[in-house]
């Protein structure tokens, strides 16, 4: 008979704090915490001393002072008499605009390139991998300045459109002018009754959403599938179109026209905006293409074969079997690429686009000398955007993860 024996109880020794696994973790944490706090207070102390030396204080009052500089692209009313806070807001909106448009273009291009890269067509696949490798392996800053150079140097000046036999002509029935000062589009002008049209359009979209739900339910219940896509397109387009003509075309286009040495009216997209957005979109699309390709390839071949043996046609296999499974893999890195695009938009300074780094972290910082406060706000903005997006990714992962066991 052997009875379990307790190990002889040791008396606590100081060295056990470092050697005994029961206490080691705790003492390690305490040491780390002390060092961390010491470094932190050292930095804060230095900052206070430095600020005192420079006769500065920390205050965010500068946000309510007159900015005194112009911003050539703005989405909200802003003049040089507006405050620095307004300037920052204009910058934030400009950043978000580039990010939004850039993400859409990048997604479309990326999907297109990624799927074509998997094509069985040898030359197309090679061309697409050249596109991907080309954009992925050259710094995005270089792409931005290159696209900017392309837009400013190789497009005609507005005065080239002048005269009886102009050197340059406008595209698409005299509606779009690409010049070295930017691209001019026709602008829609809403006259009376146009709001009914918008309302009708909104209602059609709601109706098509309900129709798609109905069709999905129908498919689940009976197994019959309706031509969902075409019907919903028709539901969205036709009522609005009919109303448009019935009401006597309440929306007209305002075409840009040449006046003096520049174009007037229409929507003016500056080259800085175009260059930044396009370059970021091209660059990011290369990454998205790889993500799409990896996502599709990650769906095991057995799935395709099983679907084929059930008698599904290739396009049905893609839309019903492969894409739903691939999306689960594609979406999280896709969103983190959107985040990268947003952060890369801070390179706007290279082409003189006034994003939040150009206004708040650029001119405002230089004019007021409030480096600390401006950088804090700037970082706070980017951090907020990124935390928002990463919490969305986490939400997506939680709700779409395959539940194993």
């Amino acid at each position: 008979m052997s009875s379990p024996t307790l190990p002889p109880s040791e008396s606590f020794k100081f060295s056990m704090l470092l050697s005994d696994t029961r206490y080691r973790g705790m003492s390690l944490q305490v040491i780390t915490f002390i060092i961390f706090m010491a470094v932190f207070f050292w930095l804060v102390d230095n900052t206070i001393k430095n600020l005192a030396l420079l006769d500065k204080d920390v205050s965010f009052n500068f946000l309510w002072l007159r900015a005194g500089y112009d911003i050539n692209q703005r989405l909200i009313p802003y003049t040089s008499d507006s405050t620095h806070g307004m300037a920052a807001l204009v910058g934030i909106l400009n950043t978000l605009l580039v990010a939004f448009v850039g993400c859409i273009i990048a997604t479309v291009l990326g999907l297109f390139v990624g799927i074509l890269r998997l094509s069985k067509n040898w030359i197309v696949a090679k061309l697409m991998s050249a596109y991907i490798e080309g954009f992925r392996n050259v710094p995005v800053l270089l792409w931005i300045v290159m696209v900017f150079a392309l837009l400013t140097e190789f497009t005609p000046a507005p005065r080239a459109f002048k005269g009886a036999e102009p050197e340059a002509t406008m595209l698409f029935f005299e509606s779009i002018a690409i010049t070295n000062r930017g691209t001019y589009f026709p602008a829609p002008v809403l006259v009376e009754g146009a709001y009914w049209l918008l309302l009708c359009f909104g209602l059609s979209i709601v109706a098509s959403i309900y129709f798609i739900r109905y069709a999905n339910k129908q498919k689940k219940d009976t197994g019959k599938s309706l031509p969902t896509f075409w019907i919903s397109v028709a539901v969205i387009i036709f009522p609005t179109l009919i109303l448009f003509f019935a009401m006597g075309q309440p929306v007209s286009l305002e075409y840009p026209y040449l006046k003096g040495f520049n174009f007037k009216d229409g929507i003016h997209l500056r080259n800085s905006f175009l260059a930044l957005t396009l370059a970021l979109a091209f660059y990011t699309s290369a990454f998205i293409a790889e993500i799409v390709r990896a996502g599709i390839m990650a769906v095991s071949k057995g799935q395709t074969e099983a679907a084929a043996s059930l008698g599904l046609r290739p396009n049905k296999i893609m839309s019903l079997i492969i894409l739903p499974q691939a999306l689960r893999i594609i979406v999280p890195p896709l969103i983190s690429n959107y985040l990268n695009l947003t952060k890369n938009s801070s390179l706007a300074i290279a082409v003189g686009y006034m994003d939040v780094r150009g206004t708040l972290g650029g001119i405002t910082l230089n004019q007021t000398g409030r480096e600390l406060e401006s950088m804090l706000l700037l970082m706070g903005f980017y951090l907020a955007v990124s935390l928002l997006i990463s919490s969305f990714i986490n939400y997506f992962n939680r709700s779409f993860q395959i539940v194993v066991r």
Partner: protein
């Protein structure tokens, strides 16, 4: 009666496949014209390629290499490339403002770099690993100059510290942590009190010095490589530690790591570089002013370390839990199991992500042009501001882009090679 039943005695030789299925035609049919959609795509692609090459080849092939200015190029033939800007300024693009009579130093550093990475890349040459270890010091000495001894003393100090640690462990102490603390104190004492007199003495006895070159003179691809390579080398171990810290079950360490990673990943690199160039003076004791290249390197390193940590965390999460449990049940300590069981597998899974982070870091070195350091992209604008080359674009951009492409593409090819080599399952 003759037997009318016919039994073939000899096998018919297989007939050749139809001409449309093999050879060039078969390949074309299968790969380019398998359906009408594919045929359209093929024709479009060929058209696209032809158009690009039609413009590009005459432009590049007929380019001028030996004119004095862009004006002269345009006078000769405005439709071809003017590569003379590269002939005139290639030294600047490679070395920045580095003194011309010292160009051999960055060149030698670069050659040594190639030699130093061979043992790391190809295990066949692992016996030359000692060179990779002395390379960083050698590179710093060659690039910045100064006394040879003030660099070597760092190595001497660290070696002595390591020897001290090993002796303690082998002879006197069992506890690693106490030994590490003692060895750290020993090394600190060495650097604080002993190293300076020793260096002074050595400088008197045997002065080996190179002329000092200040950081602001570094530029061009030399600068990109300095920032890129240092960042890559330093961010890897830091990234591993951060990833482990994030997985750790010690809450304080975990919180610090998570906070650091999320903060760095949440802000653009430019803002961090601005902090390095503008704000850092606020955070340091009044009057300190340390090297701008070093500040940039630190920021770039921290930036990519955070990304690296996330990549490695992905690799760690990809390992089955059984691996941790098995290694613990074998009685391995935390560090042993990380070193022998977990990390080799986790790193193998995350090779593509790690190399992507390296590539991203190397490309991000161009951002230093925004805080007015002279990297190739920054130099391109300087060159274009020159009266002689005002208005030149593509020649410069294509050349710079090509250099970056070669490095980045090389890295991604190596990562694919490594993945194939390390693949143990079929």
């Amino acid at each position: 009666m003759t037997n009318i039943a016919f039994v073939r005695k000899k096998e018919i030789p297989p007939s050749a496949p139809p001409i449309t299925e093999v050879g060039l035609i078969g390949w074309l049919r299968q790969n380019l014209f398998s359906s009408w959609l594919n045929s359209i795509l093929t024709v479009l692609s060929v058209y696209f390629i032809v158009i690009i090459l039609w413009d590009f080849i005459p432009w590049a092939y007929g380019g001028h290499w030996n004119t004095k200015s862009l004006r002269e190029c345009l006078d000769l033939d405005p439709d071809v490339a003017c590569f003379s800007v590269l002939t005139a300024r290639w030294k600047q693009l490679l070395f920045g403002l580095y003194p011309a009579e010292e160009y051999w130093r960055p060149t030698l550093t670069f050659i040594f770099l190639l030699l130093a990475i061979v043992p790391i890349l190809f295990p066949k040459f692992f016996r030359f690993f000692w060179f990779s270890i002395i390379y960083p010091g050698l590179a710093v000495w060659l690039l910045w100059g100064g006394s040879f001894w003030s660099i070597s003393i760092v190595y001497i100090g660290l070696t002595l510290g390591a020897l001290f640690f090993l002796t303690l462990i082998r002879r006197y102490l069992k506890n690693y942590m106490i030994a590490a603390i003692l060895a750290f104190l020993f090394t600190a004492v060495f650097f604080l009190f002993i190293s300076n007199p020793v260096v002074g003495l050595l400088n008197v006895i045997l002065p080996i010095t190179l002329p000092f070159v200040e950081s602001l003179k570094m530029g061009g691809f030399t600068l990109s490589l300095i920032v890129g390579v240092t960042g890559i080398v330093a961010s890897f171990p830091i990234g591993i530690l951060l990833a482990l810290g994030r997985q750790s079950n010690l809450p304080v360490i975990k919180m610090i790591c998570v906070g650091f990673i999320e903060f760095i990943r949440g802000v653009p690199l430019i803002t961090l570089l601005f902090v390095a160039s503008v704000l850092l003076n606020y955070f340091l004791p009044p009057g300190t002013n340390f090297d701008i290249v070093l500040r940039v390197v630190i920021m770039v390193t921290l930036f990519s370390a955070a990304y690296m940590a996330e990549v490695i965390r992905g690799g760690l999460a990809g390992l089955p839990l059984g691996q941790h449990e098995a290694s613990a049940s074998l009685g391995l300590t935390y560090w042993q199991s990380q070193r022998l069981i977990i990390m080799p597998q986790a790193l193998k899974i995350s090779i593509p992500g790690i190399v992507n982070t390296f590539i991203g870091l190397f490309k991000d070195t161009t951002l230093v042009s925004i805080i007015s350091l002279r990297d190739p992209v920054g130099l391109a604008s300087t060159i274009r501001a020159d009266q002689k080359w005002n208005g030149i674009y593509w020649e410069l951009y294509v050349a710079i882009g090509l250099m970056f492409f070669i490095f980045c593409w090389g890295m991604s090819q190596y990562s694919q090679y490594l993945e194939r080599k390390l693949k143990t399952d079929k």
